[in-house]
Symmetry: C2
């Protein structure tokens, strides 16, 4: 988590993973593929989107290493490749302490507000 180390080996990979995840359609495609492989036609179905538009998103996901193509000649089903997600998860885990602390501060604040409002509500 040292700033000096930001030019590490997997920097480009993390860039590509996070950029690929910054779109709701691409995240929805990954959610669909987590349930099993699917052809481009099957992936396009739930979206109000042309097949070329979906293909563009698939290209971004493929370049980021998040999906691969099956060998089956006709359907060329897409498959989820979850390893880059594990790496992104690992990067985020460095900050767990930070968000847990901020949630704790929020809990304390809420408890204080509750006590204060109870005191105000008490008959004098």
């Amino acid at each position: 988590m040292e700033p000096a180390g930001y030019a590490g080996a997997d920097t480009g990979r993390l860039d590509a993973t996070f950029a690929a995840l910054a779109d709701p359609t691409r995240r929805a495609i990954l959610a669909r593929l987590a349930r099993g492989e699917a052809s481009v036609t099957e992936l396009a179905e739930p979206f109000a989107m042309s097949q070329p538009a979906i293909s563009k998103h698939l290209k971004v996901l493929e370049r980021a290493g998040l999906i691969s193509r099956g060998r089956e000649a006709q359907r060329r089903p897409r498959r989820l490749q979850a390893q880059p997600l594990a790496e992104a998860n690992q990067w985020l885990e460095n900050y767990r302490r930070c968000w847990e602390e901020s949630f704790q501060r929020l809990d304390v604040l809420l408890a204080e507000m509750k006590t204060a409002s109870r005191k105000r509500g008490r008959p004098k």
Copy 2:
């Protein structure tokens, strides 16, 4: 994790978080701020970058809700806001089963390769 649910309330927030994380300088800034608040000058120091360039990155992080500005008039120190990271982490956790399965498949494959190479190495 349903594709139909991708237009959920926090979709825009996840978009902004992942887009903000898709850059090594911005990730390094967050890593620095995880160690404590810092002024723009302090944040610019470790980078071979102009202050305006750093300010641009800070704006992206601020818009994504990942940093906030302190009240101290002169320094206006930036502070990490880790809650969006918790949300991104939660989204990724949906895929834990997927990457654990793929790591298990890799382990099996490696074990098979080891056995095969040992068999080849055995004197006949």
